[in-house]
Symmetry: C2
Subunit: 329 residues, 2 copies
């Protein structure tokens, strides 16, 4: 290489750097390492948004649904809503002496969370009904809004809303910037998420689908209220997820993200229709920065999903290797 | 007035006409006669959308809910969905000999619609359950989509979708142009409205709230389907309307329009919170161009609403005098 050639090469490199610069700076997914997962996401979004592409999807039909616990924020050592319920049970325990000898209240009051979890989903629903029923939706929103700004995670000491995944925030924003409507479809309580989902995830209340108690409309002293009843309306988990999606959205998503077998049917429903479809599982592989669990976990068990992801064309995101950051700093 | 003054005056008039012209041409509610109703609508929209106004409402909170039957389209001589159900019952009758002697099927098959209506809402729900249950949501959408493009109203001979109210189409569009999100909240079936609401009203499936049957997720020969069950999920009427609003939208509307006492609680819920609120009742007063009915009607009964509208600050739209057109031509 002579001087002139070298000079030309340097200029070319500088020019390349200059052109590459803005592209790198505007990477919409900076917390995602380059690799198969990131490539799959970007190429899916590009093909469904490119006019004239065989896979083009009109903007109105770009529906993306996200599980919450374990997909958008951490769910260990137990679902965060359970910390809220624990605080409520403790506050109300003096009015309920029977809880000292009734499961899962007794375990919860003793701090034996394994005992609480052993009562299964039905036990958890008993806790929800006992502590939430009778509150108006407005009272409940105020209670959650106040709790979520002060309560802290027992291990990390962070606010729970500081334990949302930075790569998933970027993914939500990236999809919205490409004309997607982003929804939460969670087994957690719909009214537990609504008070803060817009601030934290940019997802407004009307795009939150979750488990719910029946509501009753009453007029109290001339003031109408909606009162939470001690009766399940929808368990938005497993088979309930496609049901919640149809009820609230009325369209089939083209993109769905989950992390556990509770999301299996949502991914199946999303990805088994015609046209371009995207299914994604967040695999918790990072014991150092977060938690590592899958097939044997009592929370967020992921077994069938791991077995079938390949055959179904779902991408499995390896938290440890695919993400260069877990939580927003 | 000398020649020069006259010339100046003419120029001034022409200029005024020129400036007035576009304003008149862009009247967003041309089918509404000038009067108290139109003035109330426009002044409400202006005050909630004017930044700095004491009544300003951020765009995200501009939720407007509309009843469908009798508010956006005609509901006489009976709810249009009942014509769809009639056609289904007739088509299925040969497989159900027991219907010949079971109400309300027997009345329906004899064409005795008064007998059908006498069975009340419960009877209508039986009809819905018997004819819709077992269909998948997708099959049901196809059936409704096909029916709605060919079935015609017995009196007018119009397609049912040609019997939507032009002034209400303008109102929907005017609200959306001012940042409102427009929703249907109807006692009619949610999946009956979704297939055509976007084309006819500009309201997408995710903004349609209605009565519903429970859904069940099944995988049939590897293909997932959502099957309508013979069990009510929500009756989105009366007390059910605020419940449906909270479940689907999660925010309290600031604008609600209805036409019958089935909309009373939706209007009450909407207008009894703090801040600028708008409640509106379409009063069917036009026997010539549409139908005239209120306190004694079996369909769309409006009694309590008429009694209390004034005290509650709801405007009562007089179809005959407030609208210069009823249906779109």
């Amino acid at each position: 290489m002579n001087r002139f050639t070298r000079f030309t090469a340097v200029v070319a490199l500088l020019m390349a750097a200059q052109f590459a610069g803005p592209a790198l700076a505007s990477d919409p997914l900076p917390s995602w390492n380059d690799g198969a997962s990131k490539t799959a996401i970007v190429s899916f979004v590009e093909k469904v948004t490119t006019p004239g592409s065989a896979d083009f999807v009109p903007e109105a039909e770009r529906i993306a649904t996200f599980d919450n616990d374990g997909t958008l924020w951490t769910e260990q050592p137990m679902y965060f809503q359970l910390y809220y319920i624990t605080d409520q049970v403790k506050a109300q325990a003096k009015d309920h002496p029977e809880w000292q000898s009734t499961e899962p209240f007794a375990s919860l009051l003793k701090g034996d969370m394994a005992g609480v979890m052993a009562s299964g989903k039905h036990g958890l629903l008993n806790l929800v009904a006992a502590t939430h029923a009778g509150m108006t939706v407005s009272e409940f929103h105020q209670s959650v809004s106040s709790w979520i700004t002060t309560a802290r995670h027992p291990t990390t000491g962070k606010l729970f809303t500081e334990m949302v995944y930075q790569p998933m925030l970027e993914l939500l924003e990236y999809l919205r910037a490409n004309g997607f409507k982003t929804y939460i479809v969670s087994g957690g309580g719909i009214e537990f998420m609504r008070p803060w989902a817009e601030r934290v995830y940019g997802i407004p209340p009307e795009q939150v689908v979750g488990s719910s108690l029946k509501l009753k409309y009453e007029v109290r002293d001339g003031t109408p209220v909606l009162v939470k009843q001690a009766e399940i309306d929808l368990i938005d988990d497993n088979d309930g997820k496609p049901v919640g999606i149809q009820s609230h959205i009325g369209r089939r998503p083209i993109f769905a993200a989950g992390n556990s077998d509770g999301d299996f049917q949502m991914l199946e429903w999303t990805t088994s229709a015609a046209g371009a479809r995207f299914g994604m599982i967040v695999h918790h592989t990072d014991a150092q920065r977060e938690w590592a669990y899958d097939r044997d976990s009592h929370i967020g068990q992921l077994d069938r999903g791991l077995n079938e992801a390949d055959d179904r064309g779902w991408i499995v995101v390896d938290m440890k290797n695919d993400w260069n950051a877990v939580y927003a700093e």
